[in-house]
């Protein structure tokens, strides 16, 4: 199928957008990432997603598809070249969909709850919920991976994409709260998976390093038009020390990052 005319409306830091980008990269589809801030409700976003007015939106020719997991399934259905994203067996597909829905309905909201929690007692309650959710996902990993490296088996699949897109934010929350949410002593296999994820060729080119993500979140959104995907060498950002002003190249964008002293500003993806 022709890959021309594929656009993703989104923001580089959004885990939901990253799901779509990972799926497109897995299928080696050329696309243009059109960066936008959904809070500003740009016209193109309202036109292509009038129901929810949210990113990501996939534009494929004259078709628009919304909702990240629906987009990932569409990419898997529409492009049959490249590896399959969803498992071949109906039951494994149902299991992957079940746990992806669990991630969105049960795990992701905990990040918002943690942000809103006031006081140590409230935070401890949320930490406990994280622990319970990860214990359930640990079992899911054991069943889905069947002893291999990823939920999808030997390679990244649907559930790796669904959950993996949030690992960076989970690590950021750990740094901010000086605690371990994804704990190797309680969920060793899941923690091992999270570490392996960033070494995958597709994932490491899409997901931002958690340290870098932390700095991006501190400095707020930076918007730039992205060009058509091409294989560029990514210049790693130097880690931030103290109040140093850092410069880094990220794909084609040049962003100047400053550390904000004092209160850390948490941004929704």
């Amino acid at each position: 199928m022709a890959t021309s005319g594929v656009k993703v409306l989104g923001a580089r830091q959004s885990p939901f957008v990253n799901r779509v980008v990972m799926a497109l990269e897995m299928k080696s589809i050329d696309y243009e990432l059109v960066e936008m801030n959904p809070r500003l409700k740009p016209e193109l976003l309202i036109k292509t997603n009038p129901v929810h007015k949210k990113i990501p939106v996939l534009i494929h020719g004259d078709r628009t598809i919304c909702e990240s997991l629906i987009i990932v399934q569409y990419i898997d259905d529409a492009w049959t070249n490249g590896p399959s994203i969803l498992p071949p067996h109906p039951y494994d597909r149902a299991t992957a969909r079940f746990w992806a829905a669990f991630v969105d309905d049960k795990l992701v909201p905990l990040l918002g709850q943690l942000r809103e929690a006031e006081g140590e007692e409230a935070k401890e309650l949320v930490f406990k919920k994280f622990s319970e959710a990860f214990m359930q996902l640990e079992e899911a990993f054991i069943n889905c991976s069947k002893g291999k490296a990823f939920f999808g088996g030997d390679s990244v699949g649907y559930l790796d994409i669904a959950l993996g897109s949030f690992v960076g934010y989970i690590r950021v929350a750990e740094m901010m709260n000086e605690t371990k949410l994804l704990d190797e002593t309680k969920t060793p296999r899941l923690d091992g998976w999270a570490e392996r994820l960033y070494s995958d060729n597709i994932v490491k080119d899409v997901l931002m390093d958690p340290q870098l993500l932390l700095v991006q979140l501190q400095s707020g959104f930076r918007h730039s038009r992205s060009s058509r995907r091409h294989r560029e060498t990514r210049v790693e950002a130097r880690s931030l020390r103290g109040n140093m002003k850092e410069q880094c190249c990220w794909r084609r964008g040049l962003c100047e990052m400053q550390q904000i002293e004092g209160l850390f500003l948490w941004r929704e993806p």
Partner: protein, 193 residues
Amino acid sequence: MAAASDVKVLGMWSCPYVNRAQLALCIKSIEYEFIEENTLKKSDMLLKHNPVHKKIPVLIHGDKSVCESCIIVEYIADAFDTGPRILPSDAYDRALARFWAAYIDDKWYPLVKVLRQSGDKEERKSLVQKLFEGLILLEEAFIGCSKGMAYFGGDSIGYLDIILGSCLACLRVTEKVVGVELMDPTKAPQLAK
């Protein structure tokens, strides 16, 4: 054809989410055993087969259990090749069906239950307004998906007909409770038909 003993549905006869699983099995001509659950006193079987959410419906197929109604319907569509298709054949039409199913479950149908239980006049008015706004969106979805035919799925009942159709009984009950015609034919003539 799967033997009735191979396929079980744990649920309640009145639950629209359970009805979805039943509709899909009927479309595929799959025999199944229906096991009535008491959600106020959940059985060991339910807790064993849905330990995460502890909710109905649960589809048990041999030694496999599948939970969450929309996921069950897609599983039935995938696993049984008898009978007509449930999901559209085109990838984009499938994405649209999934999108509107998610809209119904996440945004629209939850308002129906809140409306039915609300005793506040102003709140009811606001909820009815929101439901009408959603209904207009679903009317547009119907026009887009049905392509001039009788159902969202075209000539025959498909995925989105199952998802929304299963909600109709509770919708009609709510209409009686609040005294408002929610599936208003002046606002959504195609959908009302």
